[in-house]
């Protein structure tokens, strides 16, 4: 194709950041700061949920309790993200996995300290809490020893 057609470069820019409400699920993030993993269970029907949620998606009840969901998991599937989104361009490529906890819940997180060649479905994983340099809590999988 020949030269690019003419365009006007917009003068107005838009940087969007969001304030994400966690009033009803702060127990998860508070626990994570202490290295613990809590999620919600419906007191009426017993439904376990992850991500945690204040209202039960099974019976629509709103009386939920916080339970420890443990850290042991088994790898279900994974990928290695080489082309990253624009807000992750400072990151090295990363491995993302979905792991199944012993209670049946599944979680998506990075797998730290491993390589694609060493991973396959069935590999034992462990959840660990992390903090960003700015102090925000998050969590990763590591391959279980």
């Amino acid at each position: 194709m020949s030269a690019e057609p003419p365009t006007l470069h917009s003068r107005r820019t838009l940087n969007l950041t969001f304030n994400l409400p966690i009033t009803k699920t702060h127990e998860f993030w508070d626990g994570l700061k202490e290295g613990k993993f809590f999620t919600t269970r419906c007191k009426d029907c017993g439904q376990l949920s992850f991500p945690p949620q204040a209202d039960c998606p099974n019976c629509t009840g709103s009386d939920v309790e916080w339970v420890d969901m443990g850290t042991e998991a088994e790898l279900v599937t994974f990928t290695y993200v080489v082309v990253t989104p624009t807000s992750f361009v400072e990151n090295d490529p990363y491995i993302v996995a979905i792991g199944r906890l012993s209670n049946g819940l599944k979680i998506l997180a990075w797998v730290e300290g491993s390589e694609v060649e060493k991973l396959k479905p069935g590999v034992k994983l462990k959840l660990e809490a992390r903090k960003t340099s700015g102090g925000s809590p998050y969590y990763v999988f590591v391959v279980a020893a």
Partner: protein, 387 residues
């Protein structure tokens, strides 16, 4: 509910269309569809625009497009179902005609994705799931979501990267025969296998491109359709379904539950089976997505998708030709336009107007499979020459 037919089809050139703005791009297919249907503006009683948006400057694309095309005081809306927004627009137009509210309705699919840079597009698609639990800390991308399915499918059924490459080769083969396609050149298995890794095991040639484009269909009631055209293409049934926002909530990763459910509903509505189709468009945003669609739509048993590829069963002359317009992979994937583009292609095929890409017509039925996100939404539409 009344019978509804497609009576007009229009399609822009797909590709990097920096020569047009969103309204000019939409107009290309709107004008084409109106000329094809031989209808005037005043006959169109409803306009639905399918567009996911976010990558172009306008917040209210429906009214911007309508103003440019000269439509006033017309019932209108923009609908979103991610990459199935086009099918969602057709569904709304279909319902307005089927219900008796409109005699003639128009569905426009539109996306303009190249007004932002490539990695911003990657970001916007990566946020198409559950933001806090998948993107905020983990930077998921659209290829990454489908790679999770590819790894599981390969592990369970022995599907190989070469099987996936063959789907890309097929797409480019037919794209080379489609003058409206973004990529009109053949590729080889070796070229696909050697392309840049995007999200393991999916490579550049496993992925659809970022595309600008529009497509339009005009729908009419039975009485009106028979007056307008000798070749109405009937909408025999639409099956629609959905699945969880978080991929971690899915039961399994070897197929899309929303496709299985939407297909079941579409087959029930049309009283047809997976064996009754001469042609299909399957949502191949990634090669693995097309392979899983063969299985989830019932063209073969779960796990046998790779066999269909190896045996050439989805090529012209095979049991069920799939994506002989080049598919999302080679024709391009302007998100909101794709579902409507699929309707245009299958209508062309069923009219017998697809030229060098024409499939043999035996049963006169075609299937449109359009997925939104990573199986978040699914629309399966059955089209037919017979009413």
């Amino acid at each position: 509910m009344r019978k509804v037919a497609i009576v007009g089809i229009g399609h822009s050139k797909f590709g990097r269309r920096t020569d047009v703005d969103i309204a000019e791009l939409a107009f290309e297919s709107i004008k084409g569809a109106m000329q094809d249907a031989k209808v005037e503006k005043k006959q169109i009683e409803s306009i639905t625009l399918g567009s996911a948006g976010g990558w172009y400057e306008e917040s209210l694309p429906a009214v911007v497009v309508n103003e440019y095309a000269g439509f006033h005081n017309v019932p209108t809306m923009r609908v979103e179902a991610a990459c199935a927004s086009g099918s969602a627009a057709v569904r709304n137009a279909y319902l307005t005609v089927a219900s008796g509210e409109s005699e003639i309705a128009m569905a426009v699919g539109l996306e303009k994705m190249t007004e932002v840079d490539t990695l911003t597009s990657v970001e916007l698609m990566g946020r198409a799931g559950s933001y806090l639990w998948e993107f905020e800390n983990y930077g998921m991308t659209f290829p990454a979501y489908y790679a999770l399915y590819a790894v599981a499918h390969m592990n369970r059924f022995g599907t190989t990267q070469e099987d996936l490459a063959r789907i890309a080769v097929k797409a480019h083969h037919y794209g080379a025969m489609n003058p409206l396609a973004q990529f009109q050149k053949e590729i080889t298995v070796e070229k696909a296998m050697g392309s840049q890794m995007v999200s393991w095991p999916l490579k550049l040639y496993d992925a659809c491109p970022i595309t600008d484009g529009s497509a339009t269909v005009i729908l009419a009631s039975e009485d009106t359709a028979r007056k307008l055209t000798d070749t109405p293409i009937w909408i025999k049934g639409m099956g629609v379904s959905s699945d969880s926002a978080n991929l971690s909530k899915r039961d399994d990763y070897v197929g899309l539950g929303a496709t299985v459910d939407a297909a079941r509903k579409a087959y029930a509505a049309s009283k047809l089976t997976p064996q009754d189709f001469d042609v299909a468009t399957c949502h191949d945003c990634f090669t693995i997505a097309e392979l899983m669609a063969y299985e989830d739509l019932g063209f073969c048993a779960k796990g046998d998708g790779a066999k269909m590829v190896r045996n050439g069963e989805t090529e012209i002359g095979g049991r069920i030709p799939v994506n002989v317009d080049g598919g999302l992979k080679a024709k391009g994937h302007p998100v909101g336009a794709t579902g409507v583009s699929m309707m245009v292609e299958v209508s062309k095929q069923l009219r017998g107007e697809a030229g060098s890409r024409q499939v043999p017509l035996k049963k006169g039925n075609g299937l449109v499979h359009n997925v939104g996100g990573t199986g978040h939404y699914c629309y399966v539409t059955v089209l037919s020459r017979s009413g």
